[in-house]
Symmetry: C2
Subunit: 188 residues, 2 copies
C-alpha cells in the first residue's frame, strides 16, 4: 500500500471508531467519510462494506492488545504486568463486544474472523502467565485457557453490572486476589 | 388447582424438561405429551404456548434455587453454604441460559418475566452473604450485586470454556480463593 493510501486507511478507521462510539455501529458511511475529511469513494475503496470496516476495527483493537501483551512480557514485575493486561482487556470488552455483535448480526462469525490475531494474543498471554507464575506472583495450577475464561467471565460480570466502576473494581479485586498463590496454611 | 390438575401440570413440566434437555427447546409439544403419558389437550390446557411452558420451567428452576438458598441460610458453616450455592448456580446456568435464550427468541424479556422470583433469590443470596461475612469466611467489602456479577461472570467463563469441567473447577477455585478475606499481611 502506498504511504498516502495507508494514511487514508488509518484516517477512515479512526473516524469510524469515533462515529461508532458516539452513534453505534449502525451509523452511516457518509458520516464516517465526513468526519475523516475524505470522499465517500475513498472510504469504499478501502472498505467495500460496513462489515469490512467493523472487522478492520476489531482486528485493529485485538492487534493493539496483542502488541501491548508482547511489550509487557519484559516488564520487571511479571505479576503486575499480567494483572494490568487483564484489567485492560476487561475495560475494552464493552466496545469489542459491540463490534463482535455487529459482525455476528451481519452473519460473520467473529471467532473465525479473529482466529489469527486471537492466536497471537493467546500466545502473548501464555508467555506473560508463565513468567508471572515463575516469579511466584500467580498460582501455578492455572493455564492460559483458564486465564482467558476468567477474562471473559470478568468482562461479562462488568457488563451485567452495567459497567458500574465500583462493582467492576470489587469483582476484579476478588479475581486478582484469587489469582495469587493460596496461603500455605490454608488448603485450597 | 385441583390435586390431579396440579399433578398433571407437574408431569408436563418434568416431561418437558427431559425432552428439552435431549432435543433442545424446539422439540414438539406432541413429544412432550407422549413422554408425560397425557393427551395433547391436557398439555395445552396448562400451557397454551411453547413460550408459556419454557417460562414455567425457568420460573421453576429459579424458585428451586431460591428455596435452596433459603434452606442454606441456617447452615452451620455459612461460608461453605454460600460457596455451595455459587457452584450450583454456575452448574445450572447452562440449562437456564438455553431457556432464557428460547424466551428471548420468542420476544419475551426474561428479565421482566423473572423479576419476582429473581428478587426472592437475590434476597436469599444477600442473607447468605451477610452471614458468611459475619463468620469471617468472606471478605466484607462485597455486596450482593458484586456476588451476582461474579456468579454471572463465572457462568460465562464456564460457557466460554465449553463446559470443560477441569477449567470450571480451576476458575471457581480462583474466585472462591479471592472471596476469602485477604491475608492481613498482604495489602489488597
Amino acid at each position: 500500500m502506498r504511504a498516502d493510501a495507508a494514511r487514508n486507511r488509518r484516517r477512515v478507521l479512526e473516524a469510524a471508531e469515533a462515529v461508532f462510539a458516539a452513534r453505534g455501529t449502525s451509523a452511516s458511511t457518509e458520516e464516517i467519510a465526513r468526519r475523516a475529511g475524505l470522499g465517500i469513494g475513498t472510504v469504499f475503496r478501502h472498505f467495500p462494506t460496513k462489515e469490512a470496516l467493523v472487522e478492520a476495527i476489531l482486528l485493529d483493537r485485538l492487534t493493539n492488545l496483542a502488541e501491548e501483551a508482547e511489550s509487557l512480557s519484559t516488564d520487571a514485575d511479571p505479576g503486575a504486568a499480567l494483572l494490568a493486561l487483564f484489567r485492560r482487556m476487561v475495560d475494552r470488552s464493552a466496545a469489542k463486544r459491540a463490534y463482535a455483535d455487529a459482525l455476528a448480526d451481519a452473519g460473520l462469525d467473529p471467532e473465525v474472523t479473529m482466529s489469527q490475531v486471537g492466536q497471537r494474543l493467546r500466545s502473548a498471554m501464555d508467555a506473560l502467565l508463565t513468567r508471572a507464575q515463575r516469579s511466584g506472583a500467580i498460582r501455578d495450577d492455572l493455564g492460559v485457557t483458564d486465564l482467558i475464561a476468567l477474562v471473559v467471565g470478568a468482562s461479562r460480570a462488568a457488563e451485567h453490572a452495567g459497567w458500574d466502576r465500583a462493582v467492576q473494581d470489587r469483582t476484579l479485586a476478588v479475581i486478582f486476589s484469587g489469582l495469587r498463590p493460596p496461603p500455605a496454611d490454608t488448603p485450597a
